[in-house]
């Protein structure tokens, strides 16, 4: 390989999400990140310039880069999550660019569900407003590990440190109370380019990283050995060929933690135990594998294992339950009601379920609760109690995003109704206040 190819290869991948509205300068920030990392190519810029001209706009409207649908361009709004890709020499980025308004909460939740970092934008002139609190709450609810507060339009407040400091302090206190583990506040001007890619010449008082530097260096995965190891079985590989007459492997993507050859494991929900005798990592035999690798496990005993089962360390297996208490974001146009029969999709397992109760609806702007709403409509966040027809090996979402999350699906037409997170809504001090209205404040299997 040439040096160039090697440099290009030696990178990790960061998935992050941005939340904010056009008014906060989100499009300008995204546009600048893409533009300054040379990810917007000549023909794309020309197309945007031409489309902007056709619309009678003088300057190219960078929102047209991501607003890819006819309806979005006609209405001048972002409707759906747009995924953008860019790279620096240090890292590759997948950006889920989501609209900020309350009626698009489901899109923000979608973008945040796979994000390891969320950028929340505020206008330095307005400070922390209702929308900012909602964005912080979504990041906290979805357990996004890193949150960046980008205090934008610093040029319009004379780059004054006290303005930034007071916004950063207020936001950090709020986000920390929701259990957000890491918050980084950065004063920027997306329009002037201050602290986005290049350090600002106007804010000597700020010694931290620029937005891009932070994106390039934030750790992408936490300490996996501290996680509960989880392996949902996707597919049983049984070639039954002359070359591999007896091969039987359990294919899946490690959802959390680390697995080793020789380890004693339980298979859930049956609870049978066995030992890992081999790990095939896409063509190579290995003795250790970790999330999110796709591998095939071989086991010592020929026990009944099929798609939907969960393999976990024998001494650290999750309890199984048919009663699920969770926070859901309702994402469908049709409502979710008490008594409704649904399908619940958890990892690789889909089971019948019934909505036993909707104890409360939550307003993310101020975390106020509205008891017994009866139903949830699009973009509502609520607490639900669900009974499943078969047991699930479900972790609290705060312990494991992958094995603590689920979808509720309409069995009649297949619509994705709600996105669920098992256990308490928020970590930290806010958790008690939020869960207080429930009969059972503690998550208890």
């Amino acid at each position: 390989m040439t040096t160039t190819a090697e440099q290009l290869s030696a990178t990790t991948l960061l998935r992050f999400a941005t939340a904010g509205s056009v008014d906060d300068g989100k499009s300008t920030l995204v546009g600048r990140l893409l533009h300054d990392s040379k990810s917007v190519l000549t023909d794309q810029l020309e197309a945007v310039e031409q489309a902007s001209l056709n619309r009678g706009q003088e300057a190219p409207d960078l929102a047209l880069l991501t607003d890819g649908l006819r309806a979005e361009r006609e209405q001048g709004i972002t409707i759906d999550v747009a995924y953008r890709y860019f790279a620096t020499t240090r890292r590759r980025f997948i950006l889920a660019d989501t609209p900020g308004h309350v009626q698009y909460t489901r899109n923000m939740v979608t973008g945040a569900s796979t994000a390891e970092l969320a950028v929340v934008l505020v206008d330095a002139r307005n400070g922390v407003v209702e929308q900012t609190r909602r964005h912080a709450a979504v990041a906290a609810l979805l357990r996004v590990p890193h949150v960046v507060l980008a205090v934008n339009k610093m040029d319009l407040v004379d780059y004054a440190e006290p303005v930034f400091a007071s916004i950063a302090e207020e936001f950090t206190a709020y986000a920390a109370s929701l259990g957000v583990p890491e918050i980084t506040a950065i004063p920027i001007s997306a329009l002037a380019g201050d602290n986005v890619v290049e350090p600002s010449a106007h804010m000597d008082w700020y010694g931290g990283p620029t937005v891009l530097e932070h994106l390039e260096t934030v750790p992408v995965s936490h300490d996996l050995t501290a996680c509960h190891a989880r392996f949902p079985v996707q597919y049983v590989i049984r070639p039954q060929s002359a070359e591999h007459p007896d091969y039987r492997g359990y294919a899946g993507q490690i959802a959390a933690g680390v697995f080793r050859v020789g380890e004693s494991v339980s298979v859930l929900p049956s609870g049978r135990t066995t030992t890992i005798t081999g790990i095939d990592a896409l063509g190579e035999s290995v003795d250790i594998a970790w999330a999110p690798q796709s591998v095939t496990l071989r086991l010592a005993d020929d026990i009944d294992i099929s798609r939907g089962d969960l393999i976990a360390p024998a001494d650290d297996a999750p309890p199984v339950t048919q009663d699920v208490e969770a926070t859901v974001c309702h994402v469908a146009d049709q409502p979710l009601s008490v008594g409704q029969r649904v399908l619940l999709k958890h990892t690789t397992r889909t089971v019948k379920a019934i909505v036993k109760d909707i104890p409360s609806r939550l307003t993310l702007d101020d975390l106020s609760q509205h008891p017994a709403p009866g139903q949830l409509v699009a973009n509502d966040i609520g607490r639900v109690v669900v009974r499943t027809a078969e047991p699930l090996a479900l972790d609290p979402y705060e312990d494991s995003r992958r094995t603590g999350s689920f979808l509720l699906i309409d069995p009649a037409d297949g619509t994705t109704l709600s996105a669920g997170m098992a256990g308490a809504a928020f970590a930290g001090a806010a958790a008690e206040a939020v869960v207080a209205a429930d009969d059972d404040a503690e998550w208890d299997f």
Partner: protein
């Protein structure tokens, strides 16, 4: 034995880091296995282009040492590059796969489709594709589409539900959260699945290099008789080019994308190796579709419109 995945320098403190190619590969393999677990009759759209070649390679890895549990489908426009058809047939034979071919030419010969005045057959693929899906009752159809290719594709889901007419309705897409893909569909409907949604052109090339994947030779620089139409170098050939006023010349070119000969342009290039191709792409200031696809230049929403009608 050792861990297969290379840790990368910047994360030396973390022994469990994955390189970006390993992350993308793992995600794609997960998607293939989800479909194998949940669908009855999946098929991979295989054109012999680099994206479908990478898809097939990922599928082979996902189910090894067992064979790929899917068949392949190629929509043959009748204007395909002979080198690519040759590659397609060699690959099918090598891996013992089953290939279905839907032929645009047969539709034209039978009077079911009409040749367009501009000779472009790309939009004509939709009907043979849709009818092949219905005839074979395919319920999951893998496509090599990538979100970085085009702005309408940037809004596409990994699992994309199509009605019985194969139509895509971007306003009625299911939100896709975590790695939970909802493939529920009614009889007659199907799901288009895009395992390499999150890959960029550069990722595809770097993966081809890492895995040592063979490609049709037209992806590398070679001398070719071409003529200029709408700023693109098109190959002279039986599909109908060049017209009288269009002069041909021999140039050193390669293809960045492979599609219908009538609307896929070659780019000037002296890149004869994978290394050289990767260096060239990393430095390119044009997207692959902007550089090589006449059909996307028709309008701002050309791709969205074709996708709505059931296109790839």
């Amino acid at each position: 034995m050792s861990a297969v995945t290379t840790t990368v320098s910047e994360d030396t403190a973390n022994p469990y880091a994955l390189s970006h190619l390993d992350s993308l590969e793992s995600e794609a393999v997960h998607i293939f296995r989800e479909v194998a677990g949940e669908f009855e009759r999946p098929v991979i759209l295989f054109s012999g282009g680099k994206d479908s070649i990478v898809m097939l390679h990922l599928a082979l890895k996902a189910f090894a040492p067992a064979p790929v549990p899917f068949t392949l489908l190629h929509v043959d426009t009748g204007h395909n590059f002979p080198e690519v058809l040759d590659y397609r047939d060699r690959t099918v034979a090598k891996h013992g796969l089953r290939l279905h071919v839907a032929s645009v030419q047969e539709y034209i010969d039978a009077g079911k489709l009409r040749e367009r005045p501009d000779g472009t057959r790309n939009p004509l693929q939709t009907v043979p594709l849709t009818e092949a899906i219905q005839r074979h009752r395919f319920d999951a159809v893998f496509g090599g589409g990538r979100r970085d290719e085009e702005k309408a594709r940037a809004k596409e889901r990994v699992f994309s539900l199509r009605d019985e007419f194969s139509q895509w309705d971007p306003r009625r897409q299911r939100p896709e959260l975590w790695q939970l893909y909802n493939g529920r569909h009614a009889p007659g409907e199907h799901v288009r699945v895009f395992p390499i949604s999150n890959w960029t052109e550069l990722d595809v090339w770097q993966y081809i290099e890492r895995e040592g994947i063979e490609l049709p030779e037209i992806y590398f620089a070679h001398e070719r008789e071409v003529f200029n139409r709408n700023g693109m170098w098109l190959t002279a050939g039986h599909w109908g080019g060049p017209k009288e006023h269009e002069a041909t010349e021999t140039r050193l070119v390669r293809y960045r994308t492979v599609g219908d000969m009538s609307c896929t342009g070659a780019v000037d290039s002296d890149a004869t190796t994978l290394d050289a191709v990767i260096t060239e792409i990393a430095a390119s200031r044009l997207t692959e579709r902007g550089a090589t696809r006449a059909d996307d230049k028709m309008s701002e929403a050309a791709m969205e419109d074709r996708k709505r009608e059931g296109y790839f």
